[in-house]
Structure formats: structure tokens, C-alpha cells
């Protein structure tokens, strides 16, 4: 990046962001730079907001099948402030603690936002993962029943947060796969 970086950020703010997120200073500054490029010019970065479409079309999220859910979970009132973007990057960074990732993964996968991952959510997850609607109905129902029979411990046909956490704690793949390098800087 040869162009100059516009440091509108105050020193204390940078320190604070670095203390409160899992990002390094360089990453925060990169995010700041990208944010300013996308938001309308002339606005102070703390007041500018990005729409969900703008964030969805970032290169890091473009091919992600869950990008609309990610945007929904991390935005407030349908828009992203700079701090929302930082929060999102922090959760997806490599240093984030597992409990935080699991927490947000649960919110992302809970499509109907009823506090549980139920059959409907699971089916939507599977269809999104395969990015096609030509999965046979039986296969889908089979798979959903399997997931529930393995992870649903109290037999209410839904995965509560504790059950989700328990299932993910068994897998070393979760931490590795739930990571995004947002900013190509």
C-alpha cells in the first residue's frame, strides 16, 4: 500500500482497542484504513457507518456461505460502526479464546434467533454449506437426526448453547476453521 494512511485515530483509542480486542496494533490500523476507504469521504471514523451489503462484499466474506448471518450478528441496527467491525475482526482473529468463538458461532448458526439451534436451523446450515438445493429431502432429514441424536443431550430436539459448546470442545477443527484473515495488509 503505497498511499499514505490517514491516522485520524488517537493514541489512547488505539491503546484501548488493542487492550479490549484480540487484534494487534497493526491489524487495527489496517482495519481503520480499509474502513475509511469504504465509508463516505470526509466523515470522522467514529461516526461513519457501513451497510451490511458493504461488509458482505469484503473479500474476506464474499464467498462465505454464512456472510449474511455474520453481518446480522455483529451489526447494530443494521449498520456497522467502526467498533462493530473491530469486534467482528477480533472474534475471528487467531488469538481469540475458544469460548468467545463458540459463543459467536452459536449466534451465527442460530438462524431463527430463538436461542437454540433446532432442526430448521440445522437444515439451513447444511443447505448453505453445500450451496445447492438439490440435496434430497431424506438425506437432509437423516443428517439432521444424526446431529441431534449425537449432540442433543436432554432430548428436546434442539441444541442449546451448552450442548453446542460440548460438541465443539471435542473437535480440534473448530478453532482452526473459525478464523478469518480480514485484511490483506
Amino acid at each position: 500500500m503505497g498511499q499514505c494512511l490517514r491516522y485520524q485515530m488517537h493514541w489512547e483509542d488505539l491503546e484501548e482497542y488493542q487492550a479490549l480486542t484480540f487484534l494487534t496494533r497493526n491489524e487495527i490500523l489496517c482495519i481503520h484504513d480499509t474502513f475509511l476507504k469504504l465509508c463516505p469521504p470526509g466523515k470522522y471514523y467514529k461516526e461513519a457507518t457501513l451497510t451490511m451489503d458493504q461488509v458482505s462484499s469484503l473479500p474476506a466474506l464474499r464467498v462465505n456461505p454464512f456472510r449474511d448471518r455474520i453481518c446480522r450478528v455483529f451489526s447494530h441496527n443494521g449498520v456497522f460502526s467502526f467498533e462493530d467491525v473491530l469486534g467482528m475482526a477480533s472474534v475471528f482473529s487467531e488469538q481469540a479464546c475458544p469460548s468467545l468463538k463458540i459463543e459467536y458461532a452459536f449466534r451465527i448458526y442460530d438462524f431463527n434467533e430463538n436461542g437454540f439451534i433446532d432442526e430448521e436451523d440445522l437444515q439451513r446450515i447444511i443447505l448453505r454449506l453445500l450451496n445447492s438445493d438439490d440435496m434430497s429431502e431424506d438425506l437432509l432429514i437423516d443428517l439432521t437426526n444424526h446431529v441431534l441424536s449425537e449432540s442433543d443431550l436432554d432430548n428436546d430436539n434442539m441444541l442449546s448453547f451448552s450442548e453446542f459448546e460440548h460438541a465443539m470442545a471435542k473437535s480440534p477443527d473448530f478453532m482452526n476453521s473459525f478464523r478469518i484473515h480480514f485484511w490483506g495488509c
Binding site: 449466534r107 438425506l139 449425537e150 459448546e165
Partner: protein, 810 residues
């Protein structure tokens, strides 16, 4: 323990309630804490009223998941909960976790309190999120004092002030709140602590020095990222492996991953050998003894000829101390080295380097095997893989279109494999069928073992023939006869096994593969055992005046070369030609399947040969590395062009564990036994090699220890260790006993953990049933209240009309 508050239940009793089915009030003696909880929740819900807006449109979703529940059915057959019930359900702890700020605040309040007071109650992992009230300490939700979110926040801030700065920041970072809220929490806990807000000049922007510094730091960071991505691109075959996994599934991928692992092992073995043996000897080449024959092309196949006088084999290495710039004085005393020289005792170096290289390989193998086991097997769970596949399979790091398409294919194949495996687990069988299956199985096994025996006898007879008719120098190509026979048998017998295996019908394809692997492995190991006996038992005697170690090294070289040639031929004919024939002549579209078991065993066989031969030919691992590199590209090309994915897709999650275990147990263990026997028991030849004057190779070590004893008191601990720990047998018994005790303890611990897991699961499902029961009871209570309220309202309307009727009647 949680506080059990005094029981007050003041839902007003209506007259209609009495005399009907037993009300919840009667069960009050048993359900104290839950009644209180429900009462408080309903009070909060009434005060907050927030959840109501989200609940009502989603009343249907609650009802849709009613299968198998004893739900209260409304008129449409769908569970129909009243709004009051829904309000309570929405504020259930298990639902508000992760959603409402109040729950997060109270949870983190609990955590900080615990942190500060350092409670000594043993905690289960993640117990803070449990919905069971009694497991929470200092629980705000049950504490009747603090209700409002604002009060919870104040409590949390107070607790945060009690922590150190680092602890507080660490806790804030891990909270699932938005950054703005975290900032305000942090500010609040700082302001009230009375600290300074920070250096003055809040309004100032960056000075130009720090701007420059940051620009430099960013540029370096850029460079670092570019290098990292470059290194990742250099990681061998990363994209190729992803492509293979996407097209053919994880089972075929496990073969290629195993190949990559073997490459790493060989590199690990080669490095010390190159550094300490080959390199040093190449720097001080010995005087050539006799004439060195010219290089003809045959050496590449037979390993003899001009190769025998190169660093390739054992005979090249000297038995003296290298780089000793003085000649030993005539009285046989010590030679003091000059200032520039560093004496290098070659026999000792040879022995130690071999030992250390094998030891490192052993440790690495055992570690990777245990690591593999740790990843594939979990205590108490047989197959938790479905949930994990669904939730963890998407790699969020993928940002390009084409790799994401690959990922989707991969996931689709994996999901199909999982379902296929589950379908195969169903299906009972009759007794007669079982018996028949067992009989067929026994017969096939008998035939296979008979074939193995026949092959072994053939190899033995042929090797005896080779001893009886020694080969002259002009007809070296005859030396290739034995490796040829061995390779032909190794090639033909597995096909025979495959034909025989077609007779028996296994339900699970994994079991088929395991059985095939077992049979092939027995064949290969038995043939290798016979060859080892032939070398160490018979050849040593037959080649008394010659360099028998060179000969054994050459034999192993020849075996490896032949093995490689046959593997290439097999790929060519087994896959390419088969595909052409089946497409043109038989007019079928079926490509041959990639036979994973056979290919993996060939890899293990090749690696065993390397390990067997490394003592006699230190450069053999280098050859193996070249061979593996070549093999990867050949197999990959052939796979993509000629083969298709396995017909019955099966899960290969445990395959890599199995492969590594097979590599460790028969393969490495056998090679280690061979090595130990060669070092301890066999007399080295007297005309070549670093041990030519000794009785056994191990004596070089003993000689050195005796030398050290004479050297003086400073290093006397080493001979002492040697005498009392290595040569004495008692420490070995002690170490074995301790090891056995540790293993037994671990087994008992695992058993206990399994039991605990079972009990906890039962408990959780009981709690689930309790929850459903309570929800239904709650619903019935509110339903009755609704009905009685409606009834009363109705009654209040009718009396005026009745009065009017009475008046009219009068």
C-alpha cells in the same frame, strides 16, 4: 451451594382450581427452588416486557418441534402455549445465555467474584453456563437482591475494580459484548478507581515520528505476511492434496498424507547420518584399496560395481580415528593432537549416530501415533463426527471462488460417507447366515495363510539356491534374480487375496480393508523375516572372507530398486491399461478403483526396507526420499486420469491412525530388532568397515568406555553409568515395572471417566424430561387461570341481563 430462599408462592387460588387434578401447589415440598425461580422470572418478564415482542411471531416455531413431547395440544394439533408461558420460556437461563446482556453481565459477575475470592469449590468445565441453578455460586439470577440489568452492571463494575489491570483487560476481551459496551465498562471501572485518564494531549494527532515508525512497522508486517504466504505456497503439494480430497474423498487423501509423513521421517533419519557419518568420511576419503571398476549402467540396478567403493555402503568407512594429524608413537601410547586438528573416532561415531537416529525416529513415531490416537478417539464417544462435520467443515479462511467450490465438494462427499456408514450399521442377520459367513471366512483365511506359507518356502528355497551357486563378477545381473522373485510374489499374492476376498461378503467396507491389509502385511513381513535370516544367518557364514555387510547393503538396494520398478509397472498396467481395456474392449464406463490398502502396504514395505538397510548403507534414506517424491507425482497423475473414488464411500477418519500404527509396530519394531541383533550378536567382517577389528559392533562402545576409565577421575561417572545402568539388568526391570504401573493407572482412570460420562448423560436427559414436565404444568396452570378469568368476566356480564329478565318476568 446455592441459597435456597424461603418458599413463598402467591399465585392467588381461584375456587375452580380446587377439586380438579392435583395442582402444582401440592408438589411444593419437592420443587422449592424451581417454584421460586418461576415466580421471579414471571415478575421480571412482567417488568421488562422486552421479550414479548420477539416471542409472539415465533410462537409457531416453538410448536413445530413437538415430536415426541407430551405437549399440550391446541385445536390445530400444535402445542399452543399462552403468552405468559411464552414469556417465561423466553427468559429461561438456557435461552438467555448468549442473547441478553443481563445474563452475560451476571455470568461475568460470577466469574470475577470467583476470581477474587478464589473459591475452592471444584468446578466442572464451563459450569457457569449450566442451566442448573444449584451448580452456580453467587448466582445473580437466584439472588433476590439484584434484579435490574443496571444493578447487575454496577455490581460487575465494582468487581472489575478489584482485579488487576491485566486481569480486567483479559476478562473484558473475552466477553461476548459489543466493543462500545466493553469500552464503557472499562471507563467506568477506571473512573471510579480514581486513576488518571492517561497522558494529556488527547486532542493531538500522531506526531510525525510515530507516523514514520508505524509506516515502517506496517511495511515490515507486509513483508512478513508475504513471506508467510510464500512459505505456505511452498508447503509441498498443498493445493494438490486439497484437489485430491475434493475429488476422491478423504480415504484416498489419507494415502497421500501418509506418503508425505514418510517423507518427513526419511528426512529426519537422513540428517544425522549425513552430518556425522557421510559428510565426515567424504571429507577424509580412505585410500582406495585395489582397483575401482568403471561405471556401467548396471550399477543403478544392482548397486554393486563402482558403487561398492563409494560412500554408499558400510565398507567405505574407516575404522580409525580421523583427522588425527600425528602418527601414534611407537610405544603405543596416546597421541596428543595438534592445535588445529579435532580427532573424530569413526567407529564410535558410526555406532552412536545410528543409535541416536533410530532413537529419534522411534520417539517421533510413538509421538505421532499417540497424537493420532488422541485426535481420532474420544473417551465415551464412539462417533461424534456428524455434529463436528456440519459445524467445523467450512474453512472460513477460504476467500476465493474456486477453492470454495472444492470445499463444497469435499463436504458433500464427507457427508455422504458418514450417512453411508450409518446405513451399513443397520441390518440384522439370521443365525444360519452368520454361520455360513463364519465358515466362508475360515476357509478363505486358511487359503490365504497357505499361500503365504507357499511363498515363504519358495523364497527360502531360492535363497538357498543362490548361496549354493555363487555369482561371478561378470554376471552381476544374476544377483537381481532373488529380488525379482520376491517382488513377483509380493505382486501376485495380493491379487490372489483379492480374488479370495470376493468370496466373503463383509458388511462394512472398513472391515474389508482392514482384513486385506492384515493378510498382505503378514505375507510381506514373513518374507522379510526369511530374508533377514538368510542374510544374517547364512550369508555371514558363506561370505567369510569378503565384506558381507556390503553384500547385505547391496541386496537391500536391489530390493528397493526392484520394488520401485514393480510399483511403476503395477500402476501402469493395473490402472492405465485396465482403464483402456475396460473402455475400448469391454465398452464399460467403469474406471478401476484406487486400491488404498495395497498402496499403503507397499509404502510401509519400502520404508521397512530402508530401515533394515540403513546400518549397512547409510545413504539409503536419500534414495527412499527420491523414490517417494517420484511416486507422489506418478500416483497422483494415474489417480486423476485412470481411477475413480471408492464405490462404497467410507469414512477414513481412523485410517491415518491405523497406518501410523502399522508403520510403528510390525515395520519399525522389526527393523529395530534386526538392527539390535546385527549390532550385538553378529561378528563384523574383518576386511572392511568401521568395526573390522572387533568381535561385535557394540564393542566399539565398550572400548571407548574402557578408554574413558583410564582417562582419569573427571569422567568416571560415564563408565560408572555404563557399568551399573546399561550392563546391569536390574534398572531395566525397575523401569518396566514403573511403566506397567503407570499404564494400569491410566487404564483405570479412563474406565472411571467413561462411567462418569454415562451417568452425567443420564442425568442430563432426566433434566430434560423434568423441564418438559414443568413447562406443561406451567402451561396448564396459566390455562386454568385464563379460563377462570374469562369465566368470571362472562359472569360479570350476565347478571345485569338476568336482572333485566327477572324484572321483565315480574
Amino acid at each position: 451451594m446455592a441459597q435456597t430462599p424461603a418458599f413463598i408462592f402467591n399465585v392467588p387460588e381461584t375456587p375452580e382450581d380446587q377439586g380438579q387434578e392435583p395442582s402444582p401447589y401440592d408438589e411444593s415440598e419437592v420443587h422449592h427452588s424451581f417454584h421460586q425461580l418461576i415466580q421471579e422470572q414471571s415478575q421480571w418478564a412482567a417488568e421488562e416486557g422486552l421479550e414479548l415482542q420477539q416471542r409472539v411471531p415465533e410462537a409457531d416455531t416453538l410448536g413445530a418441534s413437538g415430536s415426541g413431547h407430551q405437549a399440550f395440544l391446541g385445536p390445530e394439533g400444535v402445542p399452543d402455549y399462552s403468552t405468559a408461558t411464552l414469556r417465561i420460556l423466553a427468559s429461561m437461563p438456557s435461552r438467555t445465555i448468549g442473547r441478553s446482556r443481563g445474563a452475560i453481565l451476571s455470568q461475568y459477575y460470577n466469574r470475577t467474584v470467583r476470581l477474587r475470592r478464589r473459591s475452592s469449590r471444584p468446578q466442572l468445565r464451563g459450569v457457569g453456563r449450566s442451566a442448573r441453578p444449584s451448580l452456580r455460586l453467587y448466582d445473580l439470577e437466584l439472588d433476590p437482591m439484584a434484579f435490574q440489568e443496571e444493578e447487575k452492571r454496577i455490581l460487575l463494575v465494582k468487581e472489575l475494580q478489584g482485579l488487576t489491570v491485566a486481569q480486567r483487560d483479559h476478562m473484558l476481551r473475552g466477553m461476548p459484548l459489543s466493543l462500545a459496551e466493553k469500552r464503557s465498562l472499562r471507563e467506568d471501572s477506571w473512573i471510579q478507581k480514581g486513576k488518571q485518564r492517561g497522558p494529556q494531549g488527547r486532542r493531538g494527532l500522531f506526531s510525525c515520528c510515530s507516523r514514520l515508525r508505524y509506516a515502517c512497522v506496517l511495511a515490515l508486517h507486509n513483508l512478513g505476511l508475504v513471506l508467510l504466504s510464500g512459505l505456505q505456497a511452498l508447503t509441498p503439494w498443498r493445493y494438490a492434496l486439497k484437489q485430491i480430497g475434493g475429488q476422491f474423498g478423504s480415504s484416498v487423501l489419507s494415502y497421500f498424507l501418509f506418503l508425505k509423513t514418510l517423507l518427513a521421517f526419511n528426512a529426519l533419519l537422513l540428517l544425522p547420518l549425513l552430518a556425522f557419518i557421510v559428510g565426515v568420511q567424504a571429507a577424509f576419503p580412505p585410500a582406495p584399496s585395489g582397483s575401482v571398476p568403471a561405471f556401467t549402467g548396471l550399477e543403478l540396478l544392482t548397486g554393486g560395481g563402482s558403487f561398492s567403493h563409494s560412500a554408499m555402503y558400510y565398507g567405505y568407512y574407516s575404522n580409525a580415528t580421523l583427522n588425527q594429524p600425528c602418527s601414534p608413537p611407537r610405544d603405543g601410547g596416546q597421541c596428543t593432537p595438534d592445535a588445529g586438528g579435532l580427532p573424530y573416532n569413526m567407529p564410535l561415531a558410526y555406532l552412536f549416530t545410528m543409535g541416536v537416529a533410530f532413537f529419534i525416529t522411534c520417539i517421533t513415531l510413538v509421538y505421532s501415533m499417540s497424537h493420532s490416537f488422541g485426535e481420532s478417539y474420544r473417551v465415551g464417544s464412539t462417533s461424534g463426527v456428524h455434529a463436528i462435520t456440519v459445524f467445523c467443515s467450512w474453512d472460513y479462511k477460504v476467500t476465493q471462488k474456486w477453492p470454495s467450490r472444492l470445499q463444497q465438494d469435499n463436504i458433500r462427499t464427507q457427508l455422504k460417507e458418514l450417512l453411508a456408514e450409518w446405513q451399513l450399521q443397520q441390518g440384522p442377520q439370521s443365525v444360519w447366515g452368520r454361520l455360513r459367513q463364519v465358515a466362508v471366512l475360515g476357509l478363505v483365511w486358511l487359503l490365504c495363510l497357505g499361500t503365504t506359507l507357499g511363498c515363504t518356502m519358495a523364497v527360502y528355497a531360492f535363497s538357498e539356491l543362490m548361496i549354493k551357486s555363487p555369482v561371478s563378477a561378470e554376471r552381476e545381473w544374476e544377483l537381481l534374480a532373488l529380488p525379482l522373485v520376491v517382488c513377483l510374489l509380493n505382486l501376485g499374492a495380493p491379487y490372489l487375496y483379492r480374488c479370495l476376498a470376493a468370496l466373503e461378503r463383509h458388511d462394512s467396507p472398513m472391515l474389508e480393508v482392514y482384513v486385506a491389509i492384515c493378510r498382505n502385511l503378514i505375507l510381506k513381513m514373513v518374507i522379510l523375516a526369511i530374508l533377514c535370516y538368510h542374510w544374517l544367518g547364512r550369508r555371514v557364514g558363506a561370505l567369510k572372507d569378503q565384506c558381507w555387510e556390503n553384500f547385505v547393503g547391496q541386496e537391500l538396494y536391489r530390493l528397493m530398486v526392484m520394488d520401485f520398478i514393480f510399483m511403476l509397472l503395477d500402476t501402469l498396467f493395473g490402472e492405465l491399461v485396465w482403464r483402456l481395456i475396460s473402455e475400448r474392449k469391454l465398452k464399460r464406463k467403469g474406471k478401476p478403483e484406487f486400491d488404498i490398502a495395497r498402496n499403503v502396504l507397499e509404502l510401509i514395505y519400502g520404508q521397512t526396507l530402508t530401515w533394515l538397510g540403513v546400518l549397512f548403507a547409510p545413504l539409503l534414506p536419500a534414495m527412499q526420499i527420491v523414490k517417494l517424491l517420484f511416486l507422489f507425482y506418478v500416483k497422483k497423475t494415474s489417480l486423476v486420469a485412470n481411477c475413480r473414488a471408492p464405490r462404497r464411500p467410507w469414512l477414513a477418519s481412523h485410517m491415518s491412525t491405523v497406518f501410523i500404527s502399522l508403520l510403528c509396530f510390525p515395520s519399525f519394531l522389526g527393523a529395530a530388532i534386526f538392527l539390535c541383533y546385527a549390532i550385538w550378536q553378529v561378528k563384523p567382517s574383518s576386511i572392511c568397515g568401521p568395526f573390522r577389528t572387533l568381535n561385535t559392533m557394540y564393542e566399539a562402545g565398550k572400548v571407548w568406555v574402557r578408554h574413558l576409565e583410564k582417562a582419569g577421575p573427571k569422567v568416571s561417572w560415564l563408565p560408572w553409568i555404563h557399568r551399573y545402568l546399561v550392563e546391569n539388568t536390574f534398572p531395566i526391570y525397575l523401569v518396566s515395572a514403573v511403566l506397567l504401573a503407570v499404564i494400569y493407572l491410566n487404564i483405570q482412570v479412563v474406565k472411571g471417566q467413561r462411567k462418569v460420562i454415562c451417568l452425567l448423560r443420564e442425568q442430563i436427559s432426566n433434566e430434560g424430561e423434568d423441564k418438559i414436565f414443568l413447562i406443561n404444568k406451567l402451561h396448564s396452570v396459566y390455562e386454568r387461570k385464563e379460563r377462570s378469568r374469562v369465566g368470571r368476566a362472562h359472569e360479570a356480564e350476565t347478571p345485569p341481563t338476568l336482572l333485566a329478565d327477572e324484572q321483565d318476568a315480574r
